[in-house]
Symmetry: C2
Subunit: 454 residues, 2 copies
Amino acid sequence: MAEEPTPVQPEIDEASESVPGWRPGRRAVLRGSLLVGAGAVGGGVIGGFAEPAIASSGSPNNTEPFYGTHQSGILTDTQRQTVLAAFDLTSDNRADLVALLKAWTRLGAELAQGQSVTVPIHNPVGGSGDAYADATGGSTTDDSLEAYGLDASRLTLTVGFGRSMFVGADGGSRFGLGGQLPAALLDLPHFSGDELVAGDSGGDLFLQACADDPQVAFHAARSIARIAPDVATLRWTQLGFSPDNQGGTPRNLMGFKDGTVNSNVHPPSDPDRTLWAGAEGPRWMSGGSYAVYRRIRITLEHWDRIAPGLQEQVIGRQKLNGAPLGGGTEFSPLNLEQRSAQGTPVIPVDAHVRMAAPESNNGAVIIRRGFSYNNGTTPFIERWPPWRQALEYDAGLLFLGYQKDPRTAFVPVFGKMAESDALNQFTTHTASAVFAIPPGASGPGDWIGRTLLG
Amino acid sequence: MAEEPTPVQPEIDEASESVPGWRPGRRAVLRGSLLVGAGAVGGGVIGGFAEPAIASSGSPNNTEPFYGTHQSGILTDTQRQTVLAAFDLTSDNRADLVALLKAWTRLGAELAQGQSVTVPIHNPVGGSGDAYADATGGSTTDDSLEAYGLDASRLTLTVGFGRSMFVGADGGSRFGLGGQLPAALLDLPHFSGDELVAGDSGGDLFLQACADDPQVAFHAARSIARIAPDVATLRWTQLGFSPDNQGGTPRNLMGFKDGTVNSNVHPPSDPDRTLWAGAEGPRWMSGGSYAVYRRIRITLEHWDRIAPGLQEQVIGRQKLNGAPLGGGTEFSPLNLEQRSAQGTPVIPVDAHVRMAAPESNNGAVIIRRGFSYNNGTTPFIERWPPWRQALEYDAGLLFLGYQKDPRTAFVPVFGKMAESDALNQFTTHTASAVFAIPPGASGPGDWIGRTLLG
């Protein structure tokens, strides 16, 4: 066992105080107004230590808009990296939740501009907050800086509310919100094949941070999590990645172009009908959406032993060019009626694309943001010949599906797929969540959640 | 419990055979000669199914050289993503090991050109190999295609040999290699603070796959692993990332520029003295190197509560610009003698940079490739006030240090740091391995490991 190192003690604050220029300089800057565009790293050197002179952590370029009728990160072109995080609220105080959401919104707007953190990190409600940080001379106000010098990398932050934020496990109202629970924010039924890990599922609050740079995405999620250690704690996090989006729909780890029909790369022509909540539900959700998250483990070792021609029968598309079986291009419509000379359907009856197609689901559309994930290797028992026990990838797909109402989209569509999609023999759903994604903040001063809690 | 889906049965091969054009076309191509530069996606459509006409998965651009005196991936500018993998050999047959390394080399050279896999995946030794794949009409020869259409993304593949490939747990020789074991390929001693997870440590064979695209790196590691399921199996995998390398040394998750002195970004002026093995060891390692891998968990939640000025005392550098305490720029030499007006060292006696500096270690240099990692959140008990129990990040640094001889570099340098580096109170080493990195393959026909096994 290692010798325990000496913990940092509050009196070491003196060492910090011996660093002139740093704290007053940084705080003066960080608590001041935003200085977007003051891009050059510089500042005077006082007593040998740099005095930072800017709050921006990069250029104002390469940004996605944060404010808007809808939250960003839904129809935004999929970025290369995502960090998903769910939080459980540890406070019962509605004012804490309001302060947290105001702080998240303000911070999110700054991060999306590629700026350093200027929002007081701890205790958004006010008061002294974190005695240890105060005693060490520390302040969780300070940016952790791992993204300093990088640009915004198209960062988007999308915030959601879980059903458990509205009603407790006993069915009682939380934060006085029980009466505001949308019927669309349902508990998903158990689907055939579900093997869900509770600790990786659900949550009171949800954050989807997406960016082209992995460290920018992580920095954003970390900064959001740091804001309120006494109000909300992390429940789970999950990283995902997507290949460079050259030339259309990215390929998933099965090697197929994934989500050509139901994809944010090819947005629906009528989003008010399929994506955005409207007058059919509570007013506070108007302009919002509902996200269904599923972590789908794929048995890549099994898949890799199947002939490509058979893989195409399972998916219903050609592997190389993504065209539906039967011909055409990636974006050709599915011809679900076409039959071979022998009379069998060219797109098999249990093919994945047939199961997922709007034509097979009363027109239901789910706007997908798919990311690959790889959580390393875990022990696994194969359920195919030669039935080996081995360490295999815990890897696959992070499915993020956005829709107007899961009751008429994800639930019936996936319910049918869970029963008979040919793909099921290669996949296992291991995590799941549903979140209400409220409308966006309209501009500085507005905040995500105002329509519910303001 | 889910209803068990119907397993794919060998007779489904008929479905595959009903897909004209795919298998003959693809195999004819994949088993043919390399077609570098035949970049356009195309090919005829036979019976409604695409006939692939190329083996290249992208442009020949954006490549790093594969062949050379030394393996790539050591002095190569650090890419954005890494997939590390260790394998245990399941065969005792030297011919299997030779065939595996020949196949890995051939495949590695193709992947580094951005090509699809053309190497027979299973059973490199010959014979029918995989009965299940054969019976389903499958062939693990076929590229899994998730990187199809992407360029090489500066992919490098670096192969290493663990001590356990030479000697078994009982001390006996494996593969007849016991007498070839380099003294430098040591078992690391236990260091103060080690909390190593055996399943994430060690291994007979090592692969470092680095690329700017996450899916290209994963595809490479997956393809390498698929080559020989009957010869070597995965022991562990670990993903890492590095921010866009704009403007010099990347920052780690502590927010500091990391490895300015010991970094492949700033290679040593005399690599034959510090990096490449020479006449001092076995001839087969001449031109090789030794890699030490350490997965270092960082208590980010603790670090974030410490004042930046104190963080700078721990590291010995300024956080914003990376200059040593005492002033200058990032690349200014450390002034380890400088004292303040009060007589105390400006760079504290236990500061990380002082501990790691060649001046403090008889000139020892370690060429670092550092990546950040985030394996999600795990339960954690804080050892600092207020001593919470919480879900916290299993995140930190993947340290990959290359050197001529760990006995005169990593072992003494880190041995001292493990005792007294101020950084230790924020870090825990959770995985560890040492690998001999043999010299590179000189060109087509040569193979990594030939100097040892040829």
